[in-house]
């Protein structure tokens, strides 16, 4: 049997604690028969052991001892599903505000966000926070499951109330594609099969919406980029530069510039895994051979026009995860951007985002899980694009110099809704 290869969609669940994210993913996996018999048996056994009926679907993804004891999701669970048309990598993210760092971890690589809301409580602050983070991270497509419809007597009025709230917010945040679906994750209505309980709804099920959504990147391509990870010595004395391509493709013969040195050259050859290629597409871990002798190494960047910016000063959007607040003159930090690490200083905190109004307020520091704007000064020059143009060259993390903990996610530039 020759199995065809398929396209890959990465999705992340977002929304507040107890609105049913894990249960929805459990339902989706069970109803599309992605679970093996022994995995399903184990979920049934774990449910019975805790006296919570015959099947707690959230146990499909909440696999840690502490998660099952507390009935919450602490960290992202990755699950995999295959349908006749595509492969899915599902990041089931935690809803608690204290685990926002883990939600951002799951959402940072997502093509699509699956937002889950409880119809009886509507749009909570934590749901707004997650939608805001997803929008900042560049997610453009959302599927919204308005959950627990069974507890609201399948009321179209109740559903429409949530739809109105989410549509307003979605417009402000700039999502370009949104589908809102009335579901009961617990009972399976409109998850994989259409519900008899919602005759007033004739839209897609959650599975239909996920299969129909567009996979792939959302960036506005602004030239080809290859941050150099590693220099490979070739037999005969030459060197090639290995890294992953972003932005646009490179082709043999392309004029490129090595940055930050600003040396112009051309691509003489492209290799992948020791074999030569004519083209290096986006996402390929290729190595490039350049026509001129250059002194390039890890942390440098090969780019085609339009060229990125070389700078030591960044205007950035910061999601702060550190325990102590981020402030000017605070803890010693290092910044990792593409393949380059450099000491960094906070020059100014220029604002904090008010999640409720999406306005930017004055602030002198950012507390744990706050999102704000800051000016950073790095010791070494960075080669950056705006995050909305290139997710790779526009993103960075901040690292505590002492503990080596990752304490912030950063994006170059500001989202348009701010």
């Amino acid at each position: 049997m020759e199995l065809a290869t398929k396209d890959l969609l990465r999705l992340a669940t977002i929304g507040s604690v107890d609105d049913g994210k894990s249960t929805l993913i459990g339902r989706l996996l069970v109803d599309t028969r992605q679970l093996f018999d022994d995995q399903l048996d184990a979920v049934v056994a774990a449910s019975e052991k805790r006296g919570i009926g015959d099947l707690d679907l959230s146990f499909v993804t909440d696999g840690l001892r502490a998660e099952r004891e507390q009935g919450i999701t602490i960290d992202v669970a990755y699950r995999y599903a295959t349908t006749p048309t595509r492969k899915f990598i599902i990041a089931d993210c935690p809803g608690h505000v204290q685990y926002t760092r883990n939600m951002a971890t799951g959402a940072s690589t997502a093509d699509l966000a699956l937002a889950v809301l409880d119809v009886t409580s509507g749009l909570k602050e934590q749901t707004r926070r997650h939608l805001c983070i997803a929008a900042l991270l560049g997610v453009r497509s959302i599927v919204v499951a308005v959950n627990k419809m069974d507890t609201a007597a399948w009321s179209q009025v109740a559903f429409q109330r949530v739809v109105d709230q989410i549509e307003t917010l979605s417009r402000e945040l700039g999502f370009t594609s949104m589908v809102v679906i009335p579901v009961s994750a617990l009972l399976g209505d409109n998850v994989v099969t259409s519900s008899m309980n919602t005759p007033w709804y004739d839209g897609p099920t959650v599975l239909d919406a996920l299969e129909a959504s567009e996979a792939g990147s959302w960036e506005v391509a602004q030239g080809a980029r290859l941050p150099i990870q590693w220099v490979l010595r070739q037999p005969g004395g030459g060197r090639t530069y290995a890294g992953m391509v972003s932005g646009e493709a490179f082709r043999v013969g392309d004029k490129v510039t090595l940055l930050p040195a600003n040396v112009e050259t051309t691509i003489r050859a492209i290799n992948f895994g020791g074999e030569s290629r004519l083209e290096a597409v986006v996402g390929l871990a290729a190595d490039l051979d350049l026509s001129d002798e250059t002194d390039a190494g890890r942390g440098d960047l090969i780019a085609s026009a339009p060229l990125p910016t070389v700078t030591r000063e960044l205007e950035a959007t910061i999601c702060w995860f550190g325990e102590r607040p981020l402030s000017v003159g605070g803890q010693r930090l290092r910044l990792k951007h593409t393949t380059k690490s450099t000491p960094v200083r906070v020059q100014a905190i220029t604002g904090v985002i008010d999640i409720a109004s999406l306005s930017v307020n004055d602030a002198a520091s950012l507390a744990t899980n706050e999102i704000g704007l800051a000016t950073l000064l790095t010791a070494d020059a960075l080669v950056v694009d705006d995050y909305r143009e290139d997710r790779v060259t526009g993103s960075f993390v901040l690292i505590d110099e002492v503990t080596n903990a990752t304490v912030a996610a950063g994006m170059v530039g500001h989202a348009s809704f701010l």
């Binding site: 895994g273 083209e279 990752t406």
Partner: protein, 306 residues
């Protein structure tokens, strides 16, 4: 410039997974001082070694390969280990569970007893002795519910422990493996691969594997619902009938806790067909070591297991 043309992307799922794995391998080697690749001789570590060779071609592998030898291996797997390591031009380091037992660091479970948990002690000793600060493993998130929770770069404290409540945020592909002396990271380039992806990739790359992955005749006994291969480490107990069956192994672990599955799949193509329609998970079908408790894998991972 070609701005008017649509941007070609790597969209074939095997290409995406492969490039991501090469990127992780290079990133860890660049960020860490002394990486090592954990190699069991199973299909996942075989794929990992294959990817590592690709990531650094035409250079030699910039790190050694570490085998934790429990002394309870399938002979075919040891043969493959030596073959694969030589083909990759890698340096092999073997750390032996028997040595750990002989030094009195752990109790001897006896000739037929399980050495599964003892491996963690030998592994952590080998990491400390060699000052390794990063260890590549072939673990996949689809294998187990605790593994499903783990980061691509997973931090281990000075005692080798994994703390699932305090994992580092892992944003985008900005993997960060900086550790203080005595600590290390485990790196899992195959995190997002499924069992089926692994087999499709083995087929595409025409890779060599231990012969026990393919259907063959073998004397087996049925124990705890699993077919165990009769041999040096499994002796039939009273009441157990030895039968000769056509079997293959879906995973490779110690000979006394890895069950065979009844199968006629003797080529990669027929194995892919079998895996695609399987209704029992690979570890559920074949691994006695996961059946101790509800969170057997989480508990062992906390102690420093693979």
């Amino acid at each position: 410039m070609t701005t008017t043309l649509p941007t070609p992307h790597a969209t074939d799922h095997l290409d995406v997974l492969e490039s991501h794995a090469l990127f992780i391998l290079r990133e860890v080697v660049a960020e860490c001082e002394r990486p090592v690749l954990l190699f069991s001789g199973g299909k996942d570590s075989a794929v990992l070694l294959h990817l590592a060779a690709k990531a650094f071609a035409p250079q030699q592998l910039p790190f050694p390969v570490l085998h934790i030898d429990t002394g309870q291996n399938f002979a075919e797997v040891l043969d493959f280990r030596d073959r694969a390591v030589e083909a990759a031009g890698a340096r092999l380091v073997v750390a032996s569970v028997q040595d750990t037992i002989d030094q009195g660091k752990v109790a001897d479970p006896g000739h037929l007893g399980s050495r599964n948990r003892l491996q963690s002690v030998t592994l952590l000793e080998a990491i400390t002795t060699n000052s390794f600060d990063a260890a590549f493993g072939g673990a996949r998130r689809d294998e187990d519910k605790a593994r499903a929770k783990e980061r691509v770069l997973s931090f281990r404290d000075a005692f080798g422990q994994w703390d699932p409540r305090q994992q580092r945020p892992e944003l985008w592909q900005l993997y960060q493996g900086k550790v203080n002396p005595g600590e290390h990271v485990r790196a899992f380039p195959l995190s997002d691969w499924t069992e089926l992806d692994v087999w499709q990739y083995i087929g595409r790359e025409k890779m060599d594997l231990p012969s026990i992955y393919f259907a063959h005749q073998r004397d087996v006994v049925l124990r705890d619902g699993m077919w165990l291969a009769v041999g040096e480490f499994v002796e039939p107990r009273p009441g157990e009938d030895v039968v000769n069956k056509m079997v293959r192994f879906r995973t490779v672990g110690d000979a006394n806790c890895t069950g065979a599955v009844v199968s006629f799949a003797d080529t990669i193509e027929t194995i892919i067909e079998e895996v695609a329609i399987a209704n029992v998970s690979e570890r559920g079908a074949t691994r006695g070591d996961d059946k101790f408790s509800e969170t057997a894998m989480e508990d062992r991972k906390r102690e420093g297991y693979f």
